[in-house]
């Protein structure tokens, strides 16, 4: 580990121990974990006719999925509320309209009864159509309510057979509801079209896409995704920036999400007291096909329109997001005693230079994540070097020379003074 900073860490711990000894009740209160809603996950399984194909390790796709589900259900963390939804499980007929409504909840989202869930999965047999879009809408509904983290894991072997409802559009609409829902997709032995569709769904919600060739890959990956849902994470607050600073929402320190269209500007306001430092960072996500060059600009502007500081970033190529940030330390007032401290309103402007081919929809806007922190201002630097101290051979040389010259002068002066005193 890093040796040099340990003394300070030790002091911190030492202090903490001392403080804990002095105020045992206060510390105990601070240590209590914050009660958070347990995460919700829904596994969406394709039970369409094509799942009969025997091409995963010599078994049918359905058998592989069942085996994987059994393993996953055994390993689900206690705190996760898990549900299962099927698509194409019930209607074997040829009526497209009916086939495209064929999705139902097999096991409701809630505390998991492993045996019951496994029994439910065991009854499944490959049957019907592949209505991915309706299944995603259904799953989003199943997960509704509360403030938990939500995750859909979609396992399918083929593209959606229920056009014109494009599942990718559905996914983007679900994401735009601002309910922090992530969709991870797994394609069983996928073809080019399925791959494109599934990676589009994943991209639209900030999820991942996996192509599965073997049974163990499937169970490992689904377990990993379910575990990921259980990871504690701060859920951002939805906000809506305005077109100009005057109408902008006032933000407290925290984590926010918003949506911003191509080329749109969004404004937010933050209050900063003298002696405080504003820290803001912004990420604009690329949740659809965008042109290869893009950028983001975050500006801190006074209410009168003067730019204080900016953060900007540009990039090219495949990306999930582009981000930048800024710091604005507001110096302490000189004579703060007789002036009542008033917070300065700083306007934050977020703009992006993403663009997209004409075929790509611009609604809803790109996802924006904004963090705002207000902390103490740094100690002002009075010199370039730490405490104005010097370093290096030149410094030593100069000091030695100066000392030597001073010694000589002192000697000569005192000699001269003695000589003068003696002659008098």
């Amino acid at each position: 580990m890093i040796i040099r900073r340990r003394p300070a860490a030790r002091i911190c711990v030492l202090l903490a121990v001392l403080v804990a000894g002095l105020f045992p009740t206060g510390i105990a209160a601070a240590d209590e974990p914050v009660a958070k809603e347990s995460p919700k996950v829904e596994l969406v399984l394709d039970v369409s006719g094509s799942m009969r194909t025997r091409d995963i390790d010599g078994k049918s796709r359905m058998a592989a999925a069942k085996q994987a589900f059994n393993e996953v259900l055994d390993a689900v963390p206690e705190e996760v509320r898990l549900g299962i939804r099927t698509l194409g499980a019930d209607y074997p007929g040829d009526d497209r309209k009916r086939g495209c409504k064929d999705t139902r909840q097999l096991y409701p989202v809630g505390p998991l009864d492993r045996t019951e869930a496994k029994t439910a999965v065991a009854t499944l047999a490959p049957t019907g159509w592949t209505p991915i879009g309706p299944a995603l809408l259904g799953a989003a509904e199943d997960l509704e309510g509360g403030d938990a983290t939500r995750r859909i894991v979609l396992i399918t072997d083929g593209e959606d057979t229920c056009a014109p409802l494009d599942p990718c559009e559905v996914a983007r609409e679900i994401a735009a509801k601002g309910i922090h829902l992530v969709i991870d997709t797994l394609g069983l032995v996928p073809d080019a079209k399925t791959r494109a569709q599934l990676s589009c769904i994943a991209e639209a919600t900030g999820g991942t896409y996996t192509s599965v060739q073997h049974t163990d890959e499937l169970s490992d990956r689904v377990s990993q995704l379910v575990d990921r849902a259980a990871d504690p994470v701060v859920t951002p607050v939805a906000t809506q920036g305005a077109g100009q600073c005057r109408d902008a929402p006032q933000l407290e320190p925290g984590l926010y999400t918003d949506r911003e269209k191509f080329g749109e500007h969004r404004w937010y306001r933050v209050g900063v007291l003298p002696g405080q430092e504003l820290r803001a960072s912004v990420s604009v996500g690329a949740d659809r096909a965008v042109n290869k060059d893009y950028g983001v600009l975050l500006r801190a502007v006074t209410v009168h329109g003067r730019e204080i500081v900016r953060g900007s970033e540009a990039g090219d190529g495949r990306t999930d997001l582009i981000s930048t940030g800024l710091r604005y330390p507001k110096p302490e007032l000189e004579d703060a005693d007789d002036v009542k401290l008033a917070a300065e309103t700083v306007c934050l402007q977020v703009s992006n230079s993403f663009s997209a081919p004409p075929a790509v929809k611009t609604e809803p806007g790109l996802p924006v994540e904004l963090t705002v922190d207000v902390v103490g201002a740094p100690e002002a630097a009075s010199d370039v070097a730490a405490f104005g101290l010097g370093r290096g051979w030149w410094l030593l040389g100069v000091l030695v020379l100066a000392g030597f010259v001073a010694g000589l002068l002192w000697g000569w002066v005192s000699r001269w003074r003695i000589a003068v005193w003696r002659t008098n």
Binding site: R10, T208, S211, R221, Q224, R279, V375, P378, R391, G411
Partner: protein, 261 residues
């Protein structure tokens, strides 16, 4: 302000003197990021879910090609961190072409940090089994002007992803390995001033992580070898002064002088 800093330096010296005793207290109750000191085996997929790692800890993760993997590690002033990553690619029989992999390092404000040296991006040929990436950041300073994007003490995010690959190769299993190591750049990079709080996102990480990192990152920029250089310079100057003085006195009292004059 200045007085407080000088007191801190005093406290640091005291801590160095009484180090062993304090270490006995400090070492037992401070676990690693995942409680038992083992390196993480998962990676996050966004800034918010980035997996915390320590420096010199080799974190691993299994993922699908096309995933964006995030880790976060702390770095303190006067360190020059190097992030190294290795991606083990899927079996070359399953792949259809060359792929380009890339690491980006972002600071606690999500500002991309430049790499001084190292192959930040590399293209793996279709028959390659793994690809190595590396990025050496600039030396972390204890304070910079708000208009500069110099690296500051706090969190550093590592993002590993593939930036170019044939469409057919999306979603194949890959294994990633990431490690951050630091070189101590010494007092040459000791600048004046310090952040009140390290650049750790206060809200976008869970609270436990914040407390730990805040405790670790608090020591920035107090002690540097500039104190030794300057004090040694003062001592040498004093010695040189004595030498100079002695030279002007000659070899002492001339022997021909009669006593008592």
């Amino acid at each position: 302000m200045r007085m407080a800093r000088i007191l801190t330096v005093g406290a640091l010296t005291a801590a160095a003197l009484f180090g062993p005793a304090a270490a006995a207290l400090a070492d037992s109750p401070s676990p690693g990021p995942d409680g038992d000191g083992r390196a993480p085996t998962e990676a996050g997929t966004t800034f918010r879910t980035a997996t915390p790692i320590e420096q010199d800890q080799k974190a691993t993760a299994n993922a699908s090609s096309g995933d964006y993997l995030y880790w976060v590690f702390p770095a303190d002033a006067e360190q020059r961190p190097t992030v190294k990553a290795r991606v083990t690619l899927p079996d070359s029989a399953e792949r259809h072409g060359a792929s380009t992999w890339r690491i980006d390092v972002y600071d606690g404000l999500r500002r991309r940090q430049a790499c001084m040296y190292g192959m930040q991006a590399r293209t793996a040929a279709v028959d390659a089994t793994s690809v190595d990436l590396s990025c050496t950041l600039r030396t972390v300073r204890s304070l910079a002007e708000p208009w500069a994007d110099d690296p500051l003490p706090g969190s550093y995010y590592v993002r590993l992803t593939v930036t170019g690959l044939p469409e057919e190769d999306l979603g194949l299993p890959v294994a990633a390995e990431v490690e951050a190591v630091s070189k101590d750049a010494g007092g040459a990079y000791a600048v004046d001033g310090a952040l009140a709080e390290p650049l750790v996102p206060g809200v976008s990480a869970d609270e436990r992580r914040n407390e730990e990192q805040a405790a670790l990152d608090r020591s920035s920029g107090r002690w540097s070898d500039r104190w030794i250089w300057t004090s040694a310079g003062g001592l040498l100057a004093a010695l040189a002064g004595v030498c100079g003085y002695v030279l002007t006195r000659g070899a002492g009292r001339p022997s021909r002088m009669p006593p008592g004059v």
